[in-house]
Every structure is written in structure tokens, then in C-alpha cells.
């Protein structure tokens, strides 16, 4: 009897731990290997002295971040600065990111570029950087400005695209080219502002369309496959799909292909290499590219500007573009340059 109880207790602990882990893992991104490396030292002798920038992002697990990393190193070499590009294992590992910022402050970097994993939790770390007179530049992700101000902290600028305007590009294209749309929206994770902006940015351009479904597929490819299959089951006449990230766009395409549906125009966000292939194959109508490499380059330039004593606008906007079959090759050529 006693043994039984003991075992039961162990099981309960096990389940509790398991569920804690589920919460820990639930996120759009994933887990990633942490690695740090620097560049810029070799080749070009530094013009800008020995400026060292800590570039801290949320993860390195998807193409968005790896392209940003490549862009950061390319820009660092060009501008003759040293960049240390780092990220926690997964996008949800906020505490690890806080530690990275704190370590960067202690190590005495000249500037910190940060893509905050959480809009509030990073505030104290930013304040620490402020107190050490290290300028902080945000890239891709914003933080809670009120909370930052309340703690007396500040950031120099936020570098990134305007999510709403970027999604608008795809919406406008759809509105121009497809009349009588019956649209299915694949939403992201509720509460994530960037993803919500992408949804409304598209939706506001196609107000004449019938919305047959608006469902989340949690930014996951397999989930999107299932959701798309279910939506098509009820609404086989869907002719437009807007997925707010590339993974969901890809899942939708697979479901559409398997079901042999024709004339469904899929649009998504991120311009992953799968997306580019799909545009070539004709299964994807368009994808919004947000040029993470350009964001990286702009952020590094902002660091240099701040170090030179300039004051920056609160939002330094970078360009986004809709990639369709018409400009696919140009975009590819541009991205290939990064790999050289």
C-alpha cells in the first residue's frame, strides 16, 4: 500500500514536470544550438577602430535568423567592426537571453543589438546596459516602451520592417489579381503583435473577399497541413490562402497538393528557400521577404551612427518586398550574394 502511494506520487511529479516542459516548449520557433563566433577581424583592417558589437537574437533555428547572421557578418566585414552573434537555444528561453545581455555588458561591448525574446523581461538588462553607457539597438522585435521608460531605460532605435505595411503588399497584389476571393487565413500565435499585424495588413486590402475560415495553425507546418485539410473539407471553393509565416504556407501547399485542389492562390510571409522553390513550381503565388540581412546591416550601421554621436529616429524602417514569379530570380541572386 505504501509502495503504491510512493509510486503514485512519483508519477504525479512526472506529469507535473512534463506539463511544465510543454509550456516551456510551446513556441513558434524551436530549440537551437548556441554558438558564438566573431568575424571582421581578418581581411579588412578595421576602419572604425576596434568596435565590438554584441548581436543577440532569439534563436538560430530558422532561416530568418541564419540569414540575419550571414547579413550581420557580411556587414561587419564591410564596415570593419567585430560582431559576436549569439542566441539562446530556443525563442522562449528568455532568461538565457537576459544573461547574454548581462554578459555583454560585463564584457564591455561598444554596442548591443538585441532582438528581445520578451517585451518586458529584457527591460532590466537594457537598463544595465544604459548604466554602463552601452547603446542598445533593437532589431526585429520591439519591447514594452512604457515599462522601459518606467525603469528609466532607453534604446537608441528599433530597426525592422513595418509588419502591417509588409503584409499589405501581399494583400494589394491579391486584390488586384483575384476577383471574388474566398479566403482562408492561417493565423499565428494569438497575442503576438507582429503576427496579428500581418493578418490585418492583408485582410484590410481584401475587404471584398468572403472569409471562409480564420484559424491558427500555431506557425507549424504539420498543424497547417491538418488545418488546411479540414478547412478544404468544408469549403472546397477556397481560392485564396494567407498564411502569416512560411511554415504554415508550406503546410497548406502540401495539403492542397495532396487533395488535388486547383486554382488556390497561396500567399505567405518570410520568403524561406522552400517558398522560393514553391514560387518556381507555381504552388505559391507570393511571399513577403523581410530581408533579415538588410535589417542586420541597418542595425550595425545604427550602432556606428550612435557611437559617432548621432541621434536616431525611434523606428528605423527597413524595406520589405513581395516576391512573386516576376521578381523571383532577382531576389535569389541577391540572396546568393550573401553566401559568397
Amino acid at each position: 500500500m505504501k509502495i503504491m502511494k510512493n509510486r503514485q506520487l512519483k508519477k504525479i511529479t512526472a506529469i507535473l514536470m512534463a506539463s511544465a516542459m510543454v509550456f516551456g516548449l510551446t513556441a513558434c520557433g524551436g530549440s537551437g544550438g548556441e554558438s558564438t563566433s566573431s568575424t571582421g577581424g581578418e581581411g579588412s583592417d578595421s576602419k572604425s577602430g576596434d568596435i565590438k558589437i554584441a548581436y543577440i537574437v532569439k534563436a538560430k533555428t530558422d532561416e530568418f535568423w541564419t540569414t540575419m547572421e550571414k547579413g550581420a557578418y557580411a556587414a561587419a566585414e564591410e564596415k570593419g567592426v567585430t560582431v559576436e552573434f549569439q542566441a539562446p537555444e530556443k525563442e522562449t528561453d528568455v532568461e538565457k537571453q537576459v544573461q547574454m545581455v548581462e554578459n555583454a555588458v560585463v564584457k564591455g561591448f561598444d554596442a548591443i543589438i538585441l532582438s528581445a525574446a520578451d517585451s518586458k523581461s529584457l527591460v532590466p538588462a537594457i537598463v544595465k546596459a544604459n548604466n554602463a553607457n552601452i547603446p542598445v539597438i533593437l532589431v526585429n522585435d520591439t519591447i514594452d516602451e512604457e515599462a522601459l521608460e518606467a525603469d528609466g531605460g532607453k534604446v537608441e532605435t528599433y530597426v525592422g520592417i513595418n509588419q502591417y505595411d509588409a503584409a499589405k503588399l501581399a494583400g494589394e497584389y491579391a486584390a488586384e489579381n483575384i476577383a471574388d476571393g474566398k479566403v482562408c487565413y492561417l493565423e499565428g500565435i494569438s497575442g503576438v503583435k507582429a503576427l496579428e499585424d500581418r493578418l490585418t495588413g492583408f485582410r484590410d486590402q481584401v475587404e471584398g473577399y468572403d472569409i471562409v475560415a480564420s484559424q491558427t495553425a500555431k506557425c507549424d507546418r504539420n498543424e497547417a497541413f491538418n488545418v488546411m485539410q479540414n478547412v478544404l473539407q468544408k469549403n472546397p471553393d477556397v481560392n485564396v490562402v494567407w498564411a502569416v509565416n512560411a511554415e504554415m504556407g508550406q503546410g497548406a501547399i502540401q495539403a492542397i497538393q495532396q487533395g488535388n485542389y486547383e486554382d488556390i492562390q497561396v500567399f505567405d510571409f518570410d520568403a524561406s528557400s522552400d517558398d522560393l522553390q514553391a514560387i518556381e513550381d507555381g504552388t505559391l503565388a507570393g511571399t513577403v521577404a523581410q530581408y533579415p540581412n538588410l535589417q542586420a546591416e541597418t542595425a550595425i550601421q545604427c550602432c556606428l551612427d550612435v557611437i559617432n554621436g548621432e541621434t536616431l529616429e525611434a523606428h528605423t524602417e527597413t524595406a520589405a518586398q513581395l516576391i512573386t514569379k516576376d521578381n523571383l530570380e532577382e531576389y535569389r541572386a541577391e540572396m546568393e550574394k550573401l553566401d559568397e
Binding site: 503504491m4 509510486r7 503514485q8 512519483k10 508519477k11 511529479t13 512526472a14 506529469i15 514536470m17 512534463a18 506539463s19 516542459m21 510543454v22 516548449l25 510551446t26 520557433g29 524551436g30 530549440s31 537551437g32 544550438g33 534563436a59 538560430k60 533555428t61 530558422d62 532561416e63 535568423w65 541564419t66 537555444e89 494569438s190 475560415a213 480564420s214 484559424q215 491558427t216 500555431k218 507546418r221 504539420n222 497541413f225 491538418n226 488545418v227 485539410q229 479540414n230 478547412v231 473539407q233 468544408k234 508550406q250 503546410g251 502540401q254 497538393q257 495532396q258 524561406s272 528557400s273 522552400d274 522553390q277
Partner: protein
């Protein structure tokens, strides 16, 4: 007496499923069509195959939370070999199965021989396998498989709309049902879960069978991975996150006791279908995903409560 109870546990999950289906059919006419029935079976495949392996581990009184990560790891290895290494698909599939079984066996040895807590040993594997997948692939998605390979995931039985993956799943379930019901292996597994010490004292090599249970769990994860990669045309290091929880939930909803020694293969199948039917039905009704989570949570809770009440009754 015991037999009657097993029947009852199977019945309750099945009953829940039937009630769910009736309700959804009334609420949404698109629900009860043959095509939707096929969709549900296709959507359940990955989780059902994972749950099949995890179920055996739970029968022994253990737990395996590493399966989601093993899905990613074996998938990445296969993708690397086939897409980047240019090897034939069959080699990639074989490698994935070997990796899956090896991860499982490693878990089993740690638990059976080195007496680690199953939760902790598989937690370590969860991290190691995910880490290995990430190290191999980084953030990249490995895409571009042959049509022959993709047939596993999206092909249909000639002349019908039935995806072949459903056939694989059903064959696998039949095989496991046979093993668990009619082979010594099955009886030993239940017996280990029921009373490990007594099983050991009766001269059965408990360590060997426990290890085998974890091997099967890893193997099932690899099979699920092969189907998933073929279905989505992509291997990703982030694949399979949280799948272990769906798999464990399927077992529990299906009437498998987390204390071990009790549960059935078909109950788990029904449990997995219940989870997918809820998602499918709520999708058709265009209900928000947040509510889907809530509903699934309630179903899990009810299932565990039923388990606990049954255990109390069994002790009396």
C-alpha cells in the same frame, strides 16, 4: 473479473468518441463524410504511431518523453543522407529506423540496467536527440525527396482516396495488438508493469523486456518521423515538439494506466482519434485554437480521473 474491467475501460473511451462524433455531426454536416473520415485517419497517423510505442513503455510502468525529439533527430539524419548525401531513400529510411531504435535502446539500458528514473533518463534523451538534430541541421529545413519516398506520406491506395499511411498505421496496430495479446512478450510487459519484483522473481529477464519496450518506442518514433517527413516534404530540427505530450495523452485518454500493467493497444488508438476528432471538429466549426486546447485539457483530465477511480476500485 480483471477481464471485465479492461473491457470497461475500452468502452468508456469508445463511448466518448461516439458521443463526440454524434455531436459534431449534428453541429457540422461536413463532419460526417467519408472524405473527412479519411482526413481524420490521416491526421491521426503520426500521433497514433508515436502513442503505440509510448503505450508499451507505460504498460511497464515507465514513461518516454523523448519521442518528439527522436522524431526530429531520425528525420534529420534521413534528410541529410537522402537529400544532401544523395543516397537512395531506402537507406535513409533504414538509417532513421536504426537511429530511433538506438535512442530507445539507450533509454532502456539507462532505465533497466542503471536504474535511472524513466522520466529523467528520457528527459536527458529528449534534450540529447533534439540537440543532435539541431547540431546536424541548424536552422535549415531539408527538403526535396523523390516521389517514391513521398508516396509513403501522400500516396493513396490505387483506385481509392485512402492514403497509404493509414494502411501502414493499421498494419502496425494489428502487429502490436498481436504481440501484446498473443505473444509472451506482451504478457511479460503487462506483468512487469503490474508487479516488477514478482515478475523478476518468477525468472523473467525483466531488464531485457523493459529495454525492448523502450526500443520499440524509439522505433515507433522513427516510423512516425518517416511518415511525417514524407507527408510534409521536409525534415526539420524543430519537428515533433510537444508530440510526446500528445502521445502520452492518447494513451491516458485510451484508458492506459500511468501506474503500468493496465491498458490496451486499441484503447490508445481510440484515444489518439479522440484528440484529432476534437481538433478536426473545432476546425470545421471555425472555433479558435485556444478553445481547442481547453477542450483537450478537459478530456485528458476526465480520462485521468477515470483512471484514478478505476485504480481505487481495483484496490478494494
Amino acid at each position: 473479473m480483471k477481464k471485465k474491467k479492461i473491457d470497461l475501460s475500452n468502452m468508456s473511451a469508445l463511448l466518448v468518441l461516439i458521443v463526440l462524433c454524434i455531436l459534431l455531426s449534428i453541429a457540422e454536416p461536413a463532419f460526417h463524410s467519408f472524405a473527412n473520415f479519411i482526413n481524420i485517419l490521416q491526421q491521426v497517423t503520426v500521433i497514433a504511431v508515436l502513442a503505440l510505442g509510448v503505450n508499451i513503455v507505460i504498460f511497464t510502468g515507465g514513461i518516454d518523453i523523448s519521442v518528439g525529439s527522436v522524431v526530429a533527430f531520425s528525420g534529420i539524419v534521413m534528410g541529410k543522407l537522402v537529400v544532401e548525401g544523395g543516397m537512395p531513400s531506402i537507406v535513409g529510411v533504414a538509417a532513421a529506423l536504426v537511429i530511433g531504435a538506438a535512442c530507445g535502446t539507450f533509454n532502456g539500458i539507462m532505465i533497466a540496467k542503471f536504474k535511472l528514473q524513466p522520466m529523467i533518463a528520457t528527459l536527458a534523451m529528449m534534450s540529447m536527440a533534439r540537440g543532435a538534430a539541431l547540431t546536424l541541421a541548424g536552422g535549415e529545413t531539408i527538403t526535396g525527396y523523390s516521389d517514391g519516398f513521398r508516396w509513403i506520406g501522400i500516396g493513396t491506395v490505387p483506385g481509392t482516396q485512402i492514403p497509404v499511411q493509414i494502411i501502414f498505421m493499421i498494419l502496425l496496430y494489428l502487429l502490436f495488438y498481436y504481440i501484446m495479446k498473443y505473444r509472451k512478450f506482451g504478457r511479460y510487459i503487462y506483468s512487469i508493469g503490474g508487479n516488477e519484483e514478482a515478475t523478476r522473481l518468477s525468472g523473467i529477464n525483466v531488464d531485457k523486456f523493459k529495454t525492448l519496450a523502450y526500443t520499440l518506442s524509439g522505433l515507433c518514433a522513427a516510423i512516425a518521423s518517416v511518415i511525417l517527413v514524407a507527408k510534409l516534404n521536409s525534415a526539420q530540427s524543430t519537428a515533433g515538439q510537444d508530440y510526446e505530450m500528445d502521445a502520452i495523452a492518447s494513451c491516458v485518454i485510451g484508458g492506459t494506466s500511468l501506474l503500468g500493467g493496465f491498458g490496451s493497444v486499441w484503447g490508445t488508438f481510440v484515444g489518439a482519434i479522440i484528440m484529432i476528432v476534437i481538433r478536426n471538429g473545432l476546425n470545421l466549426l471555425n472555433v479558435s485554437a485556444n478553445l481547442q486546447k481547453l477542450v483537450i485539457g478537459v478530456v485528458i483530465l476526465l480520462a485521468v480521473l477515470a483512471d484514478s477511480i478505476r485504480n481505487k476500485a481495483a484496490k478494494k
